[in-house]
Subunit: 159 residues, 4 copies
């Protein structure tokens, strides 16, 4: 079994996805995962629209947040969202295909910062998201399975 | 027909709710609306849980965001979310009943700031949310129906 | 020596203030400190104004951030800012006296969330700030001096 | 006189800097300005340190915020900060030379989003900042002076 960082990121994503009922129920498509990076798409369904006839901003957030989750867990150290900010830049409507691309900006100690851009099928930027992660105990793949006996390098004493 | 601010807020909420497929599909319960205020509850379903066995933070965001939407539209001037920040403070699990309470903090010109607190059925604070609104054109109830010939007092020259 | 939470908060503030060259140099006045709470004022000086003839938003941030720092350190466990968000709501000008009031919203494990409101001398709200704190090692007053042999209750396994 | 976007951005910066007492008083150095972009450095002085012996986070914010201001005004349409978020990633100390680099991420209607990265003299990332701008009335250079009779393309009806 390949155990480089890319293979680990992809295996972690496979394991996360299998348990992620929310992302599955929302019809998300996991397009790409690399260490510190993820890309996911989602089609805006009628039940994601709000009273103004537009995609509820919360579903853009969900897409960005899932992308952030796959990116920040890609190192095989379990992590959760501590906080997030989103700027809504343009509306989306039923049938639009939104794609979120999440990229690690910083990782030190137990915390990371990830930026996610959400665009529509025309490449228009519809939202900018920034999330802060915090590691929790546990890994997706046991160290023995990866062939690494490493202690987790991201499990420091930082905030 | 009563046309005081409370009656208007409640009628706006009734009209918004009827069109809000997203909030309906998520099983939200609209508990209370007043001018600048809303309170909504939602039970965490299995399809809202993520790979860590916890409620996906995005659904807490959705609940808080819907509450914000009902609060910031309560003055009968249509408004949308421009940005939002959320701090995730404690996990929630399947079956938990979350309640979000949104309160206007500031409203001037076309912008408002709203704080939403999300608690679980034990009163535990699980998330803090702050949203910024921007008004758009249109009202839910026509001025003639409210008996007011006012120009919209919130449509100023602010950012 | 009194060692209740209020006395500890005030002694911590006295020790912090003595070392806080930045807040002193900016002419801040520490008006009140209680556990989880602080209130500080600052007069807008000419060297705090920017090219639009208004108080540089960064100085409103500094005032809010200092208030947050005094509030989040008030429990005698050293803490630093991990992140912060600010909404600028109204301009301030040279000579205006700004007052920031910071209040703890949540504290668990190593993290806290604090809200700070900045108002001018007329009570007008000029900025809303929310900061997240993270504890670091060390206390201001040694446990022996407080008569408490406690381990720090805020040094959990969060954030 | 050259009136391309770069020349305009640089002339706007020159005019802004002349009036920006705050940035001058803090010893900032304006290193580069282009349309939608600015880079500024600042040395951490003793009067910028706080009670923990570290650069007060508020001064990192000020540096990032000034950089954001030069970037968002670079199109010759006056703009102010509406909100901002900052993540503090590493401490800075007296004598450190911090450099902030601000880049426009989105601009539509009256609003823009700008990301600023703050690094120290070793290239270490110490803070990530994101600011939202809102245009106000007025330009730095009159249209006649630029040889353009354009109406401002960024003065739309957006939030």
């Amino acid at each position: 079994m390949s155990t480089g960082p890319l293979a680990i990121a992809q295996e972690v994503a496979r394991l996360m996805w299998a348990d992620d009922r929310a992302s599955q129920a929302l019809g998300m498509q996991l397009l790409e995962v690399r260490p510190g990076y993820a890309r996911i798409s989602m089609t805006v369904r009628r039940d994601m629209t709000n009273g103004h006839g537009m995609c509820h901003g919360g579903f853009m957030f969900l897409l960005a947040d899932s992308t952030f989750a796959f990116a920040c867990n890609s190192h095989n150290q379990k992590a959760v969202a501590a906080s997030a900010e989103i700027h809504f830049l343009a509306p989306a409507h039923e049938g639009d295909v939104l794609t979120a691309e999440g990229q690690e900006q910083h990782l030190a100690g137990r915390s990371g910062v990830y930026d996610t851009r959400v665009t529509d099928q025309n490449g228009k930027l519809v939202a900018l998201f920034r999330g802060k992660s915090a590691t929790i105990k546990g890994q997706f793949i046991e160290a023995s399975a990866t062939g690494h006996s490493q202690s987790n390098p991201h499990h420091g004493d930082g905030p």
